[in-house]
Amino acid sequence: MFERVNVKLNVNGQAHELLVEPRKLLSDALREDCRLTGTHVGCEHGVCGACTVLVDGRPARACLIYAVQMEGHAITTIEAIAAQGRLSALQEALHEEHGLQCGFCTPGIVMTFEAFLRKRPDPSEGEIRQTLSGNLCRCTGYHNIVAAIRKAAARMRGEENHAGA
Protein backbone atom coordinates (compact mmCIF):
# COMPACT_ATOMS: atom_id res chain seq x y z
CA MET A 1 0.00 0.00 0.00
CA PHE A 2 2.79 2.43 0.88
CA GLU A 3 4.95 2.49 -2.20
CA ARG A 4 8.59 3.29 -1.76
CA VAL A 5 10.67 5.03 -4.39
CA ASN A 6 14.36 5.21 -5.10
CA VAL A 7 15.80 8.63 -4.38
CA LYS A 8 19.33 9.79 -5.12
CA LEU A 9 20.43 12.55 -2.79
CA ASN A 10 23.53 14.72 -2.93
CA VAL A 11 24.28 15.68 0.67
CA ASN A 12 27.44 17.62 1.46
CA GLY A 13 28.89 16.47 -1.85
CA GLN A 14 28.26 12.79 -1.12
CA ALA A 15 25.83 10.61 -3.04
CA HIS A 16 23.20 8.72 -1.05
CA GLU A 17 20.73 6.21 -2.45
CA LEU A 18 17.54 5.88 -0.47
CA LEU A 19 14.44 3.74 -0.70
CA VAL A 20 11.74 5.87 0.93
CA GLU A 21 8.07 6.69 0.77
CA PRO A 22 7.38 9.90 -1.19
CA ARG A 23 5.97 11.46 1.98
CA LYS A 24 9.26 11.11 3.82
CA LEU A 25 10.39 14.52 5.02
CA LEU A 26 13.87 15.58 3.99
CA SER A 27 14.61 16.16 7.68
CA ASP A 28 13.75 12.53 8.48
CA ALA A 29 15.62 11.21 5.44
CA LEU A 30 18.75 13.10 6.48
CA ARG A 31 18.58 11.80 10.04
CA GLU A 32 17.31 8.25 9.53
CA ASP A 33 18.58 7.26 6.09
CA CYS A 34 21.71 9.37 5.68
CA ARG A 35 22.53 9.10 9.40
CA LEU A 36 23.23 12.82 9.59
CA THR A 37 21.63 13.75 12.89
CA GLY A 38 23.00 17.28 13.11
CA THR A 39 19.83 18.54 11.44
CA HIS A 40 17.37 18.84 14.31
CA VAL A 41 13.62 18.45 14.17
CA GLY A 42 11.41 20.73 16.23
CA CYS A 43 7.94 21.63 15.04
CA GLU A 44 7.72 19.80 11.70
CA HIS A 45 5.62 22.50 10.14
CA GLY A 46 8.08 25.19 9.22
CA VAL A 47 7.81 27.44 12.26
CA CYS A 48 10.81 26.76 14.48
CA GLY A 49 13.70 26.70 11.99
CA ALA A 50 15.64 23.93 13.77
CA CYS A 51 15.74 21.77 10.62
CA THR A 52 17.09 24.51 8.32
CA VAL A 53 19.54 23.19 5.70
CA LEU A 54 20.79 24.65 2.44
CA VAL A 55 19.26 23.59 -0.86
CA ASP A 56 21.48 24.74 -3.73
CA GLY A 57 23.00 27.23 -1.31
CA ARG A 58 19.71 28.71 -0.09
CA PRO A 59 18.33 28.09 3.40
CA ALA A 60 15.24 25.91 3.52
CA ARG A 61 13.14 24.11 6.10
CA ALA A 62 13.97 20.42 5.66
CA CYS A 63 10.57 19.56 7.19
CA LEU A 64 8.74 21.36 4.37
CA ILE A 65 10.52 19.41 1.65
CA TYR A 66 10.05 15.75 0.79
CA ALA A 67 13.24 13.84 0.13
CA VAL A 68 11.87 12.69 -3.22
CA GLN A 69 11.84 16.31 -4.40
CA MET A 70 15.57 16.72 -3.91
CA GLU A 71 16.97 14.67 -6.79
CA GLY A 72 19.29 16.90 -8.78
CA HIS A 73 19.74 19.39 -5.96
CA ALA A 74 22.72 19.95 -3.67
CA ILE A 75 21.90 19.72 0.03
CA THR A 76 24.23 21.11 2.65
CA THR A 77 23.80 20.24 6.32
CA ILE A 78 25.52 21.37 9.50
CA GLU A 79 27.92 18.43 9.18
CA ALA A 80 29.59 20.18 6.24
CA ILE A 81 30.28 23.40 8.09
CA ALA A 82 33.18 22.28 10.27
CA ALA A 83 34.10 19.47 7.92
CA GLN A 84 37.85 19.76 8.40
CA GLY A 85 37.43 19.86 12.15
CA ARG A 86 37.77 23.64 12.17
CA LEU A 87 34.85 25.75 13.25
CA SER A 88 33.55 28.31 10.78
CA ALA A 89 33.81 31.97 11.70
CA LEU A 90 30.16 31.90 12.70
CA GLN A 91 30.49 28.79 14.84
CA GLU A 92 33.56 30.21 16.51
CA ALA A 93 31.77 33.45 17.30
CA LEU A 94 28.77 31.56 18.71
CA HIS A 95 31.17 29.68 20.95
CA GLU A 96 32.96 32.81 22.11
CA GLU A 97 29.81 34.86 22.70
CA HIS A 98 27.90 32.06 24.45
CA GLY A 99 25.41 32.08 21.61
CA LEU A 100 24.01 28.72 22.64
CA GLN A 101 23.00 26.86 25.74
CA CYS A 102 21.22 23.57 25.00
CA GLY A 103 22.25 23.83 21.34
CA PHE A 104 19.07 22.38 19.86
CA CYS A 105 18.36 25.41 17.65
CA THR A 106 22.00 26.06 16.80
CA PRO A 107 22.39 24.00 13.59
CA GLY A 108 19.39 25.78 12.05
CA ILE A 109 20.77 29.17 13.05
CA VAL A 110 24.21 28.36 11.66
CA MET A 111 22.78 27.18 8.34
CA THR A 112 20.51 30.24 8.02
CA PHE A 113 23.31 32.70 8.70
CA GLU A 114 26.06 30.95 6.73
CA ALA A 115 23.85 31.70 3.72
CA PHE A 116 22.59 35.08 4.89
CA LEU A 117 26.03 36.53 5.64
CA ARG A 118 27.32 35.48 2.24
CA LYS A 119 24.52 37.50 0.65
CA ARG A 120 24.53 40.36 3.18
CA PRO A 121 28.07 40.67 4.52
CA ASP A 122 27.34 43.87 6.44
CA PRO A 123 23.83 43.59 7.89
CA SER A 124 22.41 45.99 10.48
CA GLU A 125 21.42 44.63 13.85
CA GLY A 126 17.79 45.08 12.80
CA GLU A 127 18.31 42.92 9.72
CA ILE A 128 20.04 40.27 11.81
CA ARG A 129 17.19 40.22 14.33
CA GLN A 130 14.59 40.10 11.59
CA THR A 131 16.31 37.14 9.95
CA LEU A 132 16.88 35.45 13.30
CA SER A 133 13.14 35.65 13.96
CA GLY A 134 12.84 32.55 11.76
CA ASN A 135 14.79 30.44 14.26
CA LEU A 136 13.27 29.87 17.68
CA CYS A 137 15.66 29.64 20.63
CA ARG A 138 14.21 28.97 24.05
CA CYS A 139 17.45 29.35 26.04
CA THR A 140 19.43 32.41 25.17
CA GLY A 141 17.02 35.28 24.71
CA TYR A 142 18.83 35.83 21.38
CA HIS A 143 21.08 38.59 22.68
CA ASN A 144 24.30 36.57 22.54
CA ILE A 145 23.34 35.03 19.20
CA VAL A 146 23.01 38.51 17.70
CA ALA A 147 26.37 39.49 19.19
CA ALA A 148 27.95 36.37 17.70
CA ILE A 149 26.50 36.98 14.26
CA ARG A 150 27.76 40.57 14.29
CA LYS A 151 31.19 39.39 15.34
CA ALA A 152 31.27 36.68 12.68
CA ALA A 153 30.13 39.12 10.00
CA ALA A 154 32.94 41.54 10.93
CA ARG A 155 35.51 38.76 10.80
CA MET A 156 34.20 37.46 7.49
CA ARG A 157 34.57 40.99 6.11
CA GLY A 158 38.17 40.88 7.19
CA GLU A 159 37.65 43.29 10.07
CA GLU A 160 39.16 41.10 12.74
CA ASN A 161 38.16 42.61 16.06
CA HIS A 162 39.92 42.06 19.30
CA ALA A 163 36.99 43.11 21.41
CA GLY A 164 37.13 39.97 23.50
CA ALA A 165 40.83 40.31 24.23
Binding site: M1, E21, L25, E44, G49, L64
Partner: protein, 290 residues
Protein backbone atom coordinates in the same frame (compact mmCIF):
# COMPACT_ATOMS: atom_id res chain seq x y z
CA UNK B 1 3.18 15.71 12.03
CA UNK B 2 3.91 13.42 9.10
CA UNK B 3 1.81 13.74 5.95
CA UNK B 4 -0.57 11.02 4.80
CA UNK B 5 0.81 8.85 2.01
CA UNK B 6 0.72 10.27 -1.51
CA UNK B 7 2.04 9.40 -4.93
CA UNK B 8 4.64 11.85 -6.16
CA UNK B 9 4.84 13.23 -9.69
CA UNK B 10 7.65 15.43 -10.86
CA UNK B 11 6.31 17.55 -13.71
CA UNK B 12 8.88 18.41 -16.38
CA UNK B 13 6.66 20.76 -18.37
CA UNK B 14 3.33 22.55 -18.25
CA UNK B 15 1.97 19.84 -20.56
CA UNK B 16 2.95 17.30 -17.89
CA UNK B 17 1.10 19.29 -15.24
CA UNK B 18 -2.04 19.54 -17.34
CA UNK B 19 -1.99 15.82 -18.19
CA UNK B 20 -1.54 14.88 -14.52
CA UNK B 21 -4.30 17.23 -13.40
CA UNK B 22 -6.60 15.88 -16.12
CA UNK B 23 -5.95 12.32 -14.91
CA UNK B 24 -6.13 12.86 -11.17
CA UNK B 25 -8.43 15.90 -10.86
CA UNK B 26 -9.40 16.71 -7.27
CA UNK B 27 -7.25 13.86 -5.93
CA UNK B 28 -4.15 15.86 -6.87
CA UNK B 29 -2.53 18.97 -5.43
CA UNK B 30 0.24 20.94 -7.12
CA UNK B 31 3.18 21.94 -4.94
CA UNK B 32 5.63 24.75 -5.68
CA UNK B 33 7.60 26.21 -2.76
CA UNK B 34 5.55 24.18 -0.32
CA UNK B 35 5.73 26.82 2.40
CA UNK B 36 1.95 26.87 2.86
CA UNK B 37 0.96 23.48 1.48
CA UNK B 38 3.83 21.70 3.28
CA UNK B 39 2.54 22.57 6.77
CA UNK B 40 -1.00 21.65 5.69
CA UNK B 41 0.22 18.26 4.45
CA UNK B 42 2.29 17.67 7.56
CA UNK B 43 -0.60 18.37 9.94
CA UNK B 44 -2.93 16.51 7.52
CA UNK B 45 -5.24 19.41 6.84
CA UNK B 46 -4.59 18.45 3.22
CA UNK B 47 -4.43 14.78 2.22
CA UNK B 48 -4.16 14.57 -1.56
CA UNK B 49 -3.55 11.16 -3.14
CA UNK B 50 -1.23 12.74 -5.68
CA UNK B 51 1.31 15.51 -5.33
CA UNK B 52 2.44 17.22 -8.54
CA UNK B 53 5.76 19.02 -8.11
CA UNK B 54 6.17 22.20 -10.17
CA UNK B 55 9.73 23.01 -9.10
CA UNK B 56 11.28 21.83 -12.37
CA UNK B 57 9.30 24.35 -14.42
CA UNK B 58 12.27 26.72 -14.44
CA UNK B 59 10.72 28.68 -17.32
CA UNK B 60 8.18 30.04 -14.82
CA UNK B 61 10.82 31.44 -12.50
CA UNK B 62 11.40 34.98 -13.70
CA UNK B 63 10.93 38.66 -13.04
CA UNK B 64 10.76 40.51 -16.33
CA UNK B 65 10.35 44.04 -17.62
CA UNK B 66 7.31 43.90 -19.91
CA UNK B 67 6.92 47.60 -20.73
CA UNK B 68 4.09 49.12 -18.73
CA UNK B 69 4.04 46.11 -16.41
CA UNK B 70 6.44 43.90 -14.48
CA UNK B 71 5.80 40.25 -15.29
CA UNK B 72 6.50 37.77 -12.52
CA UNK B 73 6.52 34.05 -13.22
CA UNK B 74 4.47 31.83 -10.94
CA UNK B 75 7.59 30.09 -9.67
CA UNK B 76 9.50 33.28 -8.76
CA UNK B 77 10.61 33.01 -5.11
CA UNK B 78 9.68 35.79 -2.68
CA UNK B 79 13.29 36.67 -1.91
CA UNK B 80 14.10 36.99 -5.61
CA UNK B 81 11.10 39.28 -6.09
CA UNK B 82 11.94 41.35 -2.99
CA UNK B 83 15.59 41.80 -3.94
CA UNK B 84 15.08 42.35 -7.69
CA UNK B 85 16.40 45.78 -8.69
CA UNK B 86 13.70 45.97 -11.35
CA UNK B 87 10.88 45.33 -8.85
CA UNK B 88 12.40 47.66 -6.28
CA UNK B 89 12.50 50.55 -8.69
CA UNK B 90 9.44 49.93 -10.89
CA UNK B 91 7.08 48.34 -8.38
CA UNK B 92 8.39 49.10 -4.89
CA UNK B 93 5.12 48.12 -3.20
CA UNK B 94 5.60 44.54 -4.40
CA UNK B 95 9.25 44.44 -3.32
CA UNK B 96 8.41 45.85 0.09
CA UNK B 97 5.57 43.39 0.72
CA UNK B 98 7.40 40.34 -0.64
CA UNK B 99 10.27 41.07 1.75
CA UNK B 100 7.94 40.61 4.72
CA UNK B 101 6.50 37.20 3.83
CA UNK B 102 7.20 34.62 6.55
CA UNK B 103 10.87 34.33 7.44
CA UNK B 104 14.12 34.49 5.48
CA UNK B 105 14.26 30.75 4.81
CA UNK B 106 10.56 30.70 3.88
CA UNK B 107 11.14 33.47 1.32
CA UNK B 108 13.89 31.45 -0.35
CA UNK B 109 11.36 28.79 -1.40
CA UNK B 110 7.86 30.30 -1.27
CA UNK B 111 6.56 31.37 -4.67
CA UNK B 112 4.38 34.08 -6.18
CA UNK B 113 1.92 31.58 -7.67
CA UNK B 114 1.76 29.56 -4.48
CA UNK B 115 0.99 32.53 -2.28
CA UNK B 116 -1.77 33.79 -4.57
CA UNK B 117 -3.31 30.34 -5.06
CA UNK B 118 -3.24 29.69 -1.31
CA UNK B 119 -5.20 32.96 -0.82
CA UNK B 120 -4.81 33.46 2.90
CA UNK B 121 -6.92 36.54 3.75
CA UNK B 122 -4.04 38.14 5.68
CA UNK B 123 -1.25 37.31 3.21
CA UNK B 124 0.90 40.02 1.65
CA UNK B 125 0.94 39.12 -2.04
CA UNK B 126 -2.82 38.77 -2.51
CA UNK B 127 -3.13 42.19 -0.87
CA UNK B 128 -0.60 43.75 -3.23
CA UNK B 129 -2.16 42.03 -6.24
CA UNK B 130 -5.54 43.54 -5.37
CA UNK B 131 -4.05 46.94 -4.48
CA UNK B 132 -2.34 47.22 -7.88
CA UNK B 133 -5.10 45.33 -9.69
CA UNK B 134 -2.54 42.93 -11.08
CA UNK B 135 -3.42 40.61 -13.93
CA UNK B 136 -3.18 36.92 -13.14
CA UNK B 137 -2.66 34.50 -16.01
CA UNK B 138 -3.92 30.99 -15.37
CA UNK B 139 -3.56 28.03 -17.68
CA UNK B 140 -4.90 24.54 -18.21
CA UNK B 141 -5.03 22.05 -21.08
CA UNK B 142 -7.92 24.15 -22.42
CA UNK B 143 -5.73 27.22 -22.79
CA UNK B 144 -4.75 30.37 -20.98
CA UNK B 145 -6.94 33.13 -19.54
CA UNK B 146 -6.32 36.37 -17.67
CA UNK B 147 -8.10 37.33 -14.47
CA UNK B 148 -7.91 40.70 -12.76
CA UNK B 149 -6.75 40.18 -9.17
CA UNK B 150 -10.00 41.68 -7.89
CA UNK B 151 -11.93 38.79 -9.49
CA UNK B 152 -9.38 36.14 -8.55
CA UNK B 153 -9.87 36.09 -4.78
CA UNK B 154 -13.28 34.65 -3.96
CA UNK B 155 -13.18 33.91 -0.24
CA UNK B 156 -10.93 32.57 2.51
CA UNK B 157 -8.40 30.33 0.77
CA UNK B 158 -10.71 30.17 -2.23
CA UNK B 159 -9.86 31.53 -5.68
CA UNK B 160 -11.36 31.58 -9.15
CA UNK B 161 -8.92 28.85 -10.25
CA UNK B 162 -10.65 25.86 -11.83
CA UNK B 163 -9.63 22.40 -10.65
CA UNK B 164 -7.33 21.82 -13.61
CA UNK B 165 -5.80 25.29 -13.77
CA UNK B 166 -2.59 26.70 -12.34
CA UNK B 167 -1.24 30.23 -12.16
CA UNK B 168 1.53 30.86 -14.69
CA UNK B 169 2.23 34.61 -14.59
CA UNK B 170 1.26 37.72 -12.66
CA UNK B 171 1.65 41.22 -14.07
CA UNK B 172 1.98 44.26 -11.85
CA UNK B 173 1.71 47.81 -13.25
CA UNK B 174 4.72 50.08 -13.00
CA UNK B 175 4.57 52.92 -10.55
CA UNK B 176 4.01 56.15 -12.47
CA UNK B 177 5.75 59.51 -12.31
CA UNK B 178 4.77 61.50 -9.20
CA UNK B 179 3.33 58.29 -7.76
CA UNK B 180 4.33 56.60 -4.51
CA UNK B 181 3.33 53.48 -2.64
CA UNK B 182 3.83 51.91 0.78
CA UNK B 183 3.02 48.73 2.62
CA UNK B 184 2.40 48.40 6.35
CA UNK B 185 1.54 45.39 8.44
CA UNK B 186 1.13 44.55 12.07
CA UNK B 187 1.62 41.13 13.61
CA UNK B 188 2.50 40.16 17.16
CA UNK B 189 5.68 38.34 16.10
CA UNK B 190 7.92 38.68 13.08
CA UNK B 191 6.89 36.30 10.35
CA UNK B 192 3.35 35.71 11.59
CA UNK B 193 0.46 36.47 9.34
CA UNK B 194 -0.63 40.08 9.68
CA UNK B 195 -3.51 40.92 11.98
CA UNK B 196 -4.07 43.86 9.65
CA UNK B 197 -2.04 45.02 6.65
CA UNK B 198 -2.49 48.04 4.40
CA UNK B 199 -1.17 49.00 0.96
CA UNK B 200 -1.42 52.59 -0.26
CA UNK B 201 -0.74 54.20 -3.62
CA UNK B 202 -0.88 57.98 -4.08
CA UNK B 203 -0.26 59.94 -7.29
CA UNK B 204 0.23 63.70 -7.09
CA UNK B 205 -0.44 66.38 -9.69
CA UNK B 206 2.37 68.80 -10.58
CA UNK B 207 2.12 70.26 -7.08
CA UNK B 208 1.02 68.71 -3.82
CA UNK B 209 -2.55 67.83 -4.71
CA UNK B 210 -3.73 64.24 -4.92
CA UNK B 211 -4.43 63.08 -8.46
CA UNK B 212 -5.18 59.42 -7.59
CA UNK B 213 -5.27 57.42 -4.40
CA UNK B 214 -5.76 53.76 -3.58
CA UNK B 215 -5.95 51.99 -0.24
CA UNK B 216 -6.32 48.24 0.17
CA UNK B 217 -6.60 46.49 3.51
CA UNK B 218 -5.87 42.87 4.37
CA UNK B 219 -6.79 40.80 7.40
CA UNK B 220 -10.18 42.46 7.88
CA UNK B 221 -12.33 40.32 5.61
CA UNK B 222 -12.30 37.05 3.64
CA UNK B 223 -10.32 38.70 0.83
CA UNK B 224 -8.27 41.90 0.57
CA UNK B 225 -10.60 44.91 0.59
CA UNK B 226 -10.03 47.71 -1.90
CA UNK B 227 -11.46 50.98 -0.58
CA UNK B 228 -11.60 52.63 -3.99
CA UNK B 229 -15.06 54.09 -3.33
CA UNK B 230 -13.46 56.43 -0.76
CA UNK B 231 -11.13 57.94 -3.33
CA UNK B 232 -13.45 60.55 -4.94
CA UNK B 233 -13.88 62.34 -1.59
CA UNK B 234 -10.13 62.73 -1.24
CA UNK B 235 -8.85 63.39 -4.76
CA UNK B 236 -7.96 66.99 -5.64
CA UNK B 237 -7.10 67.93 -2.08
CA UNK B 238 -3.70 68.78 -0.73
CA UNK B 239 -1.71 65.75 0.39
CA UNK B 240 -0.74 66.54 3.96
CA UNK B 241 -0.93 64.92 7.40
CA UNK B 242 -4.52 66.03 7.90
CA UNK B 243 -5.53 64.48 4.58
CA UNK B 244 -3.86 61.18 5.57
CA UNK B 245 -5.60 61.15 8.94
CA UNK B 246 -8.94 61.87 7.27
CA UNK B 247 -8.54 59.08 4.73
CA UNK B 248 -7.42 56.66 7.44
CA UNK B 249 -10.46 57.54 9.53
CA UNK B 250 -12.75 56.96 6.55
CA UNK B 251 -11.08 53.58 6.00
CA UNK B 252 -11.60 52.64 9.62
CA UNK B 253 -15.32 53.41 9.36
CA UNK B 254 -15.71 51.59 6.08
CA UNK B 255 -14.21 48.18 7.00
CA UNK B 256 -16.29 45.52 8.75
CA UNK B 257 -13.91 43.17 10.55
CA UNK B 258 -15.39 40.22 12.41
CA UNK B 259 -15.17 39.98 16.18
CA UNK B 260 -12.63 37.36 17.10
CA UNK B 261 -12.29 36.07 20.67
CA UNK B 262 -8.60 36.98 20.60
CA UNK B 263 -8.81 40.07 18.42
CA UNK B 264 -11.84 42.33 18.88
CA UNK B 265 -13.18 44.06 15.77
CA UNK B 266 -12.45 47.40 17.38
CA UNK B 267 -8.77 46.51 17.63
CA UNK B 268 -8.62 45.72 13.93
CA UNK B 269 -10.31 49.05 13.18
CA UNK B 270 -7.70 50.86 15.26
CA UNK B 271 -4.92 49.03 13.43
CA UNK B 272 -6.50 49.78 10.07
CA UNK B 273 -6.57 53.51 10.84
CA UNK B 274 -2.99 53.57 12.14
CA UNK B 275 -1.51 51.47 9.34
CA UNK B 276 -3.48 53.31 6.64
CA UNK B 277 -2.25 56.67 7.91
CA UNK B 278 1.38 55.51 7.98
CA UNK B 279 1.14 53.92 4.53
CA UNK B 280 -0.46 57.03 3.02
CA UNK B 281 2.16 59.32 4.56
CA UNK B 282 5.01 57.19 3.25
CA UNK B 283 3.39 56.86 -0.18
CA UNK B 284 3.13 60.66 -0.42
CA UNK B 285 6.75 61.11 0.62
CA UNK B 286 7.79 58.62 -2.07
CA UNK B 287 5.59 60.33 -4.70
CA UNK B 288 7.23 63.70 -3.98
CA UNK B 289 10.61 62.14 -4.62
CA UNK B 290 9.72 60.65 -7.99
Amino acid sequence: MKPAAFTYHRARSLADVFALLATHGDAAKVIAGGQSLGPMLNVRLAQPDHLIDLNDLHDLSYVRDAGTVIAVGALARHDDVASSELVRSACPLLAEAAGTVGHYAIRQRGTMGGSLAHADPAAQLPLVAVALNAEIDVASARGRRTLPARDFFVSVMTTALEAEEIIVEVRFPRLGAREGSAFELFSRRHGDFAIVAAAATVALDGGRRVARVGLTVGGVDAVPVSLEELAPRFVGREANAEWCAGFAQAARERIEPADDPRIPAEYRRELCAALARRALERAIAQAIGR
